[in-house]
């Protein structure tokens, strides 16, 4: 979960040694205490969208946003890109 906003993510594809950040600060475990007064830094406040996947091609890290917030996701300072998935016909 984000230390600066309401964003929560699930890691879809893990990457070794990649530090996941939101709004400029490293993300923290769900249920942990948010630092008082922390808000997304200027320029890192584009926000996250629920149900969207975000990827960092350099490290291979990929996450799914499970709760939206005001901060932007980054890995080691690199902004994560929205991963567009091809829409498949429903089969279930």
């Amino acid at each position: 979960m984000s230390a600066t906003c309401n964003t929560e993510v699930a890691v879809v594809r893990p990457a070794k040694d990649a530090v996941l950040q939101c709004g400029g600060l490293p993300m923290i475990a769900i249920g942990a205490e948010r630092p008082a007064g922390a808000v997304p830094a200027h320029g890192l406040d584009g926000g996250t969208l629920i149900g969207k996947r975000y990827a960092d091609p350099d490290s291979g890290l990929e996450v799914l946003c499970t709760k939206p917030g005001a901060g932007s996701l980054a890995v080691d300072g690199r902004a994560m890109g929205l991963k567009e998935a091809k829409r498949l016909p429903s089969s279930d």
């Binding site: 699930a10 890691v11 879809v12 769900i30 249920g31 629920i50 149900g51 969207k52 996947r53 799914l64 499970t66 709760k67 998935a85 091809k86 829409r87 498949l88 016909p89 429903s90 089969s91 279930d92």
Partner: protein, 493 residues
């Protein structure tokens, strides 16, 4: 990722949208999520229970229990209510120590057993409204989410393992979150103990599509419910579709709200799907191929491929007999007897790999160290990457060293106007090792020699059935799988 998160996301984003049951009188996603969380609280507090077994027809209790067990970190074990009581009891014993949620009419089918806490469906639905909810999902994504007993033909059924990571990988990689229109409704008629019944609940919740549940399949009820609930989506197994088409024809009903019909779970006769395309031109058809061990679908033949097949070239028409292309998130290979990957057009063992593939059973791993799972199906890929299934490896007929696909001979026989249904299989033969046999349900009396000539004109002579048996009906299991082994055993005697 825990499967419960799929529902939590839907409840957050689409709280007011109808989720289960009639559009105006069912549960919305907020209520669905709240009930699952409350039931999860109750389940999590039963420290003595390792699993959550479920013995019931399709009803709102099933999706609630599925997500609740997942959230509580305990494997969900839906049981086949069609099994005899003695077998059912044995499966409950294998799931113990467990909670057993059962429909009222099934409560008496399993005796009191040590380590089994029995709860009627109504009691379960009640506590799902009163118990203190579990605030967060318990456990790890590598935990077991689902145990499915697969219908073995000999010995004890195997318990296939699906982990949270397998199921959520399948859902997240194939379904767009909240991607369904708010008028969409999926008619679920496969039972809760079938992988397609489980995946229908998971993908509908994540996509935001309402589910309408048919407790037990009959073609008349299916058509009536689809019409009454303005159903837009449905999934059926091949035997269901033929019977549904019969009802639509006799009632003159065309289900104008229906947009999308997927089918899978067995070989679909080309003649049936052609009839469906002609009768329901407004519907998108999707053929899905998958296994229990792969969290459902791994290959899809989409609506455009179906339409092209009606109007296109010979190659495009032939694709109606394929299961389409592998999902982008899985890889499929055809391997020969020596393990070498086969080029297009050459049949062999179908192998699959991907995050949704578990290939694990309780006490046994069927998946290789390299992550590839042998499906036990035999098939081939064409130049464009379309996958064709010849059948289960054990069903392939080996006659004088030649591999003969029962499905190919069945398709030819089924196209004969006097053939209502047909099954082809191998019988032991001193001369050939195996010989080709056909069990035929005829529309009227017919000379078997005419059927042999029919096949000879269309396939090579080695594929002509030496034995033809006429029957009133063929044996199918309840999810539409043809029981070739039963026929084989009868005729081998």
């Amino acid at each position: 990722m825990n499967i419960a998160l799929l529902l939590q996301m839907a409840a957050y984003e689409m709280a007011d949208r109808a989720a289960i049951g009639p559009a105006d009188a069912g549960l919305d996603f907020a209520a669905f999520g709240a009930r699952a969380a409350a039931a999860a609280g109750w389940i999590a507090r039963r420290d003595d229970a390792a699993n959550v077994a479920y013995l019931g027809l399709n009803s709102p209790a099933f999706p609630i229990a599925l997500f609740a067990a997942g959230m509580a970190g305990k494997p969900f074990v839906p049981l086949n209510y069609r099994l005899p009581d003695t077998e059912l009891t044995r499966l409950v014993e294998r799931a113990a120590p467990c909670i057993l949620i059962a429909d009222p009419e099934f409560l008496a089918r399993v005796p009191a057993l040590p380590g089994v806490t029995v709860l009627s469906r109504d009691a379960f639905l009640m506590l799902a409204t009163t118990e203190a909810p579990l605030p967060e999902a318990a456990g790890d994504e590598s935990d077991i989410a689902l145990l499915l007993f697969t219908s073995g033909t000999t010995g004890e059924p195997k318990a296939a393992i699906l982990r949270h990571s397998n199921l959520t990988a399948y859902v997240v990689q194939t379904v767009e979150f909240a991607g369904a229109g708010d008028d969409e409704a999926l008619l679920v008629s496969v039972p809760p103990y079938h992988i397609a019944g489980v995946s229908a609940v998971l993908t509908s919740a994540y996509g935001g599509r309402r589910i309408v549940q048919l407790p037990a399949f009959s073609p008349e009820d299916w058509v009536s419910l689809a019409e009454r609930e303005a159903v837009t989506h449905a999934m059926v197994v091949p035997t269901m579709l033929g019977r549904i088409l019969d009802v639509l024809e006799s009632r003159g009903e065309r289900l104008p709200a229906l947009r999308h019909l997927s089918y899978g779970g067995g070989r679909m006769p080309v003649s049936v799907i052609e009839r469906a395309l002609a009768l329901l031109p407004h519907v998108d058809f999707v053929n899905a191929y998958g296994l229990t061990e792969t969290s459902s679908t791994i290959a899809i033949l989409g609506p455009d491929d179906h339409r092209l097949a009606l109007s296109g070239s010979v190659a495009e028409r032939r694709r109606l007999g394929s299961v389409g292309k592998p999902l982008p998130s899985v890889r499929i290979e055809i391997r020969g007897a020596d393990g070498a990957v086969q080029p297009p057009g050459i049949a062999g063992d179908i192998f699959v790999r991907g995050e949704q593939v578990s290939g694990e059973y309780v006490g046994r791993k069927a998946i290789g160290e390299d992550g590839w799972l042998r499906t036990n199906d035999c098939g081939w890929l064409d130049e464009a990457g379309y996958l064709y299934i010849d059948g289960r490896l054990d069903d392939v007929i080996v006659r004088g060293g030649e591999n003969i696909s029962p499905g190919e001979v069945e398709d030819v026989l089924r196209a004969h106007p006097m053939v209502r249904d047909v099954a082809v299989f191998g019988l032991p033969s001193d001369e050939w090792g195996e010989s080709v046999a056909a069990a035929v349900v005829p529309a009227d009396t017919i000379d078997p020699q005419l059927l042999r000539d029919w096949v000879r004109q269309r396939l090579r002579s080695t594929k002509v059935p030496e034995h033809i048996q006429f029957r009133a009906a063929l044996p199918y299991n309840e999810t539409g799988k043809l029981l070739r082994r039963v026929l084989k055993a009868e005729l081998s005697r």
